[in-house]
Subunit: 191 residues, 2 copies
DNA sequence: CTATAAAGCTAATCGTATTAGCTATTATAT
DNA sequence: ATATAATAGCTAATACGATTAGCTTTATAG
């Protein structure tokens, strides 16, 4: 019988599943169970199989994050904007560990598509830097620094056991200040 | 017949294989072929199967990197030490993309073991900071910043398509300078 | 020399992904 | 309204790698 499913609904369930059980445990078998259908039926929606689902999950994840960090930055400028963006990124990851794994993990394979998917989030970073007096090249460097840090920090935080006696949050703030300080002194930094 | 294999040799072949084909494509099937044995025989060396192999690969990778960055830092202090360490880390990743994937990827599951594996590399970072006038807490923050950046930057660099018109190397240097600048101004940064 | 452990092998099993082909339901064109 | 086509589901069968069971050969300790 018809269940009224479509790609979008399936992706949402798959994303939940990823967050609950980890990216590697999103199987067609269990996804189908959760949706109340049999696993071969999933091929009606994802002809490319598990691979296609993962790609769509990745795209979905980046769109979602894009939305979150965009909201966070609205009406803010300079340091306030950067700080808000970084907090929003970190919050997103903490709430979507599994989905974030897919966003990272799947990138190993389809880097072209991944590039485009994350372009939205990167673009928000550029806009957040608009209010600084920076050359285009300086903006590129800065975005790459912030992006690298956020990505690395998130990965570490998600998988870390202990953050005692020095809380990770303090280190996060420290890092933000260091980077903002770098932006402020950018003329002295770049030859 | 006896082939004279042992864990160490198998791991080395598996590491090569990871670098050639990517972490996800290290299968018992092909690994056995490369070693000239049948895949069930691998269980004589890795009772825990593919899982155990991956864990050992991860440990091997971190030991290897530990050695590399340790060498790089010898006889250097302060900024020179940090710069050398970061370059060595980046070089290691560029030469061991697949192995590095395993080092990252496997961490999702066994975070306790991963912690210990990467502890060596983290320790080298602490030593590299020894020559600065920093409190223990400041060192922790600094190590976490550098580590996050290196991890994020590496992941991005490995999977990125284009670094044109702004070369990634320039961004790497920019980031290093920004972070070193942050270390120099650390008193002003921490409240 | 012999007993035993180690390291290999073949054959069989398991689990998930995937494909093939069938059926009912929905949507659409006449 | 009705005939037709496309869609979304199903069952049965296949494929492929991981894994397990049980056998055999080779080193080696005593």
């Amino acid at each position: 019988m018809r269940t009224g499913l479509n790609k979008e609904k399936i992706i949402r369930v798959a994303a939940e599943m990823a967050d609950e059980k980890g990216a590697a445990d999103v199987t067609f078998k269990e996804l189908a169970e959760r949706l109340g259908i049999k696993s071969p039926s999933l091929y009606k929606h994802f002809i490319g199989g598990l691979d296609e689902l993962n790609k769509e999950l990745m795209l979905y994840g980046w769109r979602l994050m894009d939305g979150e960090i965009t909201k966070a930055v609205i009406g803010k400028a300079k340091d306030d904007a950067v700080i808000a963006l970084c907090y929003a990124y970190r919050k997103f990851v903490s709430e979507h560990k599994g989905l974030y794994e897919v966003m990272q993990w799947y990138n190993m394979y389809e880097s072209e598509e991944h590039q485009q998917a994350s372009a939205g989030a990167v673009d928000v970073m550029y806009r957040a830097l608009a209010s600084y007096e920076l050359t285009e090249e300086q903006k590129v460097h800065t975005v790459r620094l912030i992006r690298s840090f956020l990505q690395g920090f998130s990965t570490i935080e998600v998988n870390v056991g202990k953050d005692y006696p020095v809380p990770l949050t303090d280190s996060f703030d420290f890092a933000l200040k260091t980077m903002l300080n770098g932006i402020a002194n950018i003329q002295n930094i770049v030859q």
